[in-house]
Amino acid sequence: MNKKRITPLEATNTVKKSIVKRRSKDNRLKLYGRIAIGLAVCFLLFLFYSIFTKGYPGFFQYYVTLDINFDRDRIDPKGDLSDNSLFDGEASKIVNESLFSIIEPKGRKAKKQAKKIVSSGKDVRIAKMVKNDPSLFGTITKVKFALDDDIDSFLRGYIKRETPESERRISDKVIGFVDKLNQDGRITYEFSDYILKGSASGNPEMAGIKGAFIGSMLTLSVCLLISFPLGVATAVYLEEIAKKNRITEFIEVNINNLAAVPSVVFGIMGLAIFISIFGMPRSIPLVGGMVLALMTLPTIIISSRAAIRAVPPSVRDAAYGIGASKLQVIFHHVIPLAMPGMLTGTIIGMAQALGETAPLLMIGMVAFIVDIPNSVMDPGTVLPVQIFMWADFAERMFIQKTSAAIIVLLGFLISMNALAVYLRKKLERRW
């Protein structure tokens, strides 16, 4: 116990000596925090940057302009503009002839290669044009056709001229043809009319997101129609009507658990219950919407309950005071006042549902479907699943189209979330 007494001056000196160290430690923690946030923001920016730079070209593609002789006898042999007649017609032959007249391929092999320059959707395009405007018959009109995806990649510079011919996907001859078309000024680079208007296709140059987009909208509407009324009703019941007892406690535990269950499990449930037991068809937006509704239900219930709780008791008391019944208080006062909060939660839940992929894979919405779904009972797919499927394809052009689809998806998500933020700011009242 031979401790020396420290004089105040000595103490001050000790503290002064250590304070530099302690301050620098403090600054270091601050710096770490900044670095951490900076890193996270950098990740975010890099993610957006990489998606946008990849996806922006996906909205554009190369077209070739050809002079097409709209000969009615050849395009529409039966003369009634029916699908059958147009199918029997020789539209693609006419396109090929027009193409050959410019690039003049010699020999059968060269012709065969030359035919592939123009995307295989050419006859469909001509059929659509004459259906919309039969007065085209008998004229010679300039028509734009999409180029094959390999040619597209070549023009974008992904397939290089310098690579030896055997390692390239397109031959020297085809490159010669493309150069000839380019010299004629027939090749143009413009906004793709397939990406937004086309549906799933094995040909990357013709693939588009329309089918998946409509599938997403159908699925989301089913999801909204089920989850919003159910979620609000549950929240109202738990907050306003139910007495706190074992049953309501059990319901609450269940809701919290459901919020924690991985989304893929909801897909398994959909597969086992809706498809296997109830015998509903696979791949339809109805089942997809039902699964997503059960998945988003906890989000909606939890946010709706918070919104209901935020309505001050004085409002209820005032309504009771002038003789309103319990349900009148709820429906005339509590729900309208809590509605902005409920809507915010619902929009956030819908945004989640729009981006969800895994449960929809389980119930078969991953099928390759060319037809655009007309109702919730038609097989279809959704945007995220379309992205997942395209991401698997090897063609360069699919990577761009995938990124373009991601841009569209992110655009929707961001605007939905922005709407939620706006609603929260503008409509939510503070008491």
């Binding site: 009703a233 015998g279 992929t357 389980m362 995938t402 992110l410």
Partner: protein, 462 residues
């Protein structure tokens, strides 16, 4: 389309009843010149509900019931030779018949399949007629009975409120029903799986190599080709989660400390939502990013360093997943740190400690249970995450601790097994349900544990 028209029909009938009830109440008021107990529209709504609810109930019973009924009745139309044959499987036969009904015909089906499909079609037609007649009949009769109840003594508001209250109560039961449905669907198939494969082989086996039953049968004598040891899957899940935590815990925690202790309120209002965007990006986008940007980058930088990185590696999936779960840690921890009362900080400053010392020695220990809970929740999110691992981690069930190799996870195996057509009898399909069961147990267990920590160690201030 039939269902749609029928529903529209039922709903329009009940609306007609609303108008009838409403007018009746007005009439009673006018003729007798008395005040009724409730407002007129409550009488209308009462008649509407009286007509709508029973007929809707009838409709749902019929639409759900008829398929099940047909499935059991159609058994009589399967020839005895087929039933007696060895590989008879009713599920497959049923699927054949249903495909035939929907016009999906593969090859040339047997005559009896086409016949059964014809019978089925006629049943569907009959049941549609029966359903519409019964539903509309119920709607009218019950609506009429409701209408008969209207008189000056009837308290319709109370009746309507009782009905609406019970509708609200029933809808809150959906949450329970969903849980029951999940447990039901997973547990029953898992039991069937464990009847085929002993559970210790599943839990402790180190080789995961599921094959379709058909493949086993084809190469007869090669029984036991399939192996269902789930250890490689658990190990892969664990490895990817650890990598994800290595990214997200430091970044998330330091961000949370900075946001709650150092940042100005403006900075906080800007950066917190910005970080939360990371949680709002769809996982399929992260998967695409991991597979097409991060994985090639790792591969090329690995080859510069002389390392052999697989094109689908645990590292790529883990890194991207780590980015995804940053906001789960940062936002939740930020909330918890913010909830520590100011008086504790003031006490620390009063003793002359710097901000660092206050944060590290007072605030963080006080907030620790919440921080730990947020990390556990992030882990449970990582374990249940599907799309990133499906797209970026590969499918090879390697038992390895090397993050540069491809691994597979519980969720990605579930997806691979269950996507596409499957027969519900094979051990391969059933194994996905067993995996899902373990997944649920793990994630829910973590959730409960996180809540338990928060409850048990929460300091009660004031």
């Amino acid at each position: 389309m039939f269902n749609f028209y029928l529903l529209v029909g039922i709903i329009s009938i009940s609306f007609i009843f609303f108008i009838i009830g409403y007018n009746e109440a007005k009439n009673i008021k006018k003729i007798n010149n008395i005040k009724l107990h409730s407002l007129s529209h409550y009488y209308g709504i009462f008649v509407l509900l009286a007509s709508l609810l029973p007929s809707l109930g009838m409709y749902f019973i019929f639409t759900i019931g008829d398929d099940l009924l047909f499935a059991s009745l159609i058994q009589n139309y399967v020839p005895i030779e087929v039933v007696k044959s060895e590989d008879y499987n009713f599920t497959i036969v049923l699927a054949q018949i249903k495909n035939s009904v929907e016009g999906l015909i593969f090859g040339t089906p047997d005559q009896w399949v086409t016949d059964a499909a014809e019978v089925w079609k006629s049943w569907v037609y009959q049941s549609q007629i029966l359903t519409s007649i019964l539903c509309i009949f119920t709607a009218i009769i019950s609506g009429f009975l409701g209408y008969r109840k209207i008189n000056h003594k009837f308290r319709s508001r109370n009746a309507v409120e009782k009905i609406v209250m019970s509708i609200l109560a029933v809808s809150s039961i959906i949450a329970i029903l969903t849980t029951v449905a999940i447990i039901f669907s997973v547990v029953f198939e898992s039991i069937r799986f464990f009847a085929l494969i002993p559970y210790d082989e599943f839990l402790f086996g180190t080789v995961w190599n599921p094959q379709f039953e058909g493949a086993e049968r084809a190469g007869s004598g090669q029984e036991g080709l399939s192996q269902y040891g789930a250890i490689p899957l658990f190990a892969g899940t664990f490895l990817i989660s650890i990598i994800a935590l290595c990214v997200s815990v430091p970044i998330g925690l330091f961000s949370a400390i900075y946001l709650s202790e150092y940042a100005t309120s403006k900075e906080r209002a800007f950066f917190k939502p910005l970080l939360e965007i990371l949680a709002g990006i769809p996982t399929v986008v992260y998967g695409f990013f991991a597979a097409l940007t991060v994985a090639p980058f790792l591969r090329s930088s690995g080859s510069v360093l002389g390392l052999d990185v697989a094109s689908e590696s645990a590292l790529a999936a883990g890194l991207v997943m780590g980015i995804m779960i940053i906001p789960f840690i940062s936002s939740l921890s930020d909330d918890v740190i913010n909830a520590v009362p100011q008086s504790l900080r003031d006490a620390g400053y009063g003793l002359g400690s710097t901000k660092n010392e206050t944060v590290m020695k007072i605030v963080l220990p006080a907030a620790l249970p919440g921080v730990v809970a947020s990390i556990i929740l992030a882990v449970s999110r990582a374990v249940g995450e599907t799309m990133i691992v499906v797209m970026a981690a590969g499918l090879a069930a390697n038992l390895t601790a090397n993050p540069l190799e491809a691994v597979t996870t519980v969720t990605s195996q579930i997806v691979t097994i269950l996507v596409g057509d499957q027969e519900f009898e094979s051990a391969k399909t059933l194994s996905a349900f067993a995996l899902a069961l373990t997944l649920i147990i793990i994630t829910l267990g973590m959730n409960f544990y996180a809540l338990h920590i928060v409850k048990k160690y929460r300091e009660q201030y004031e």
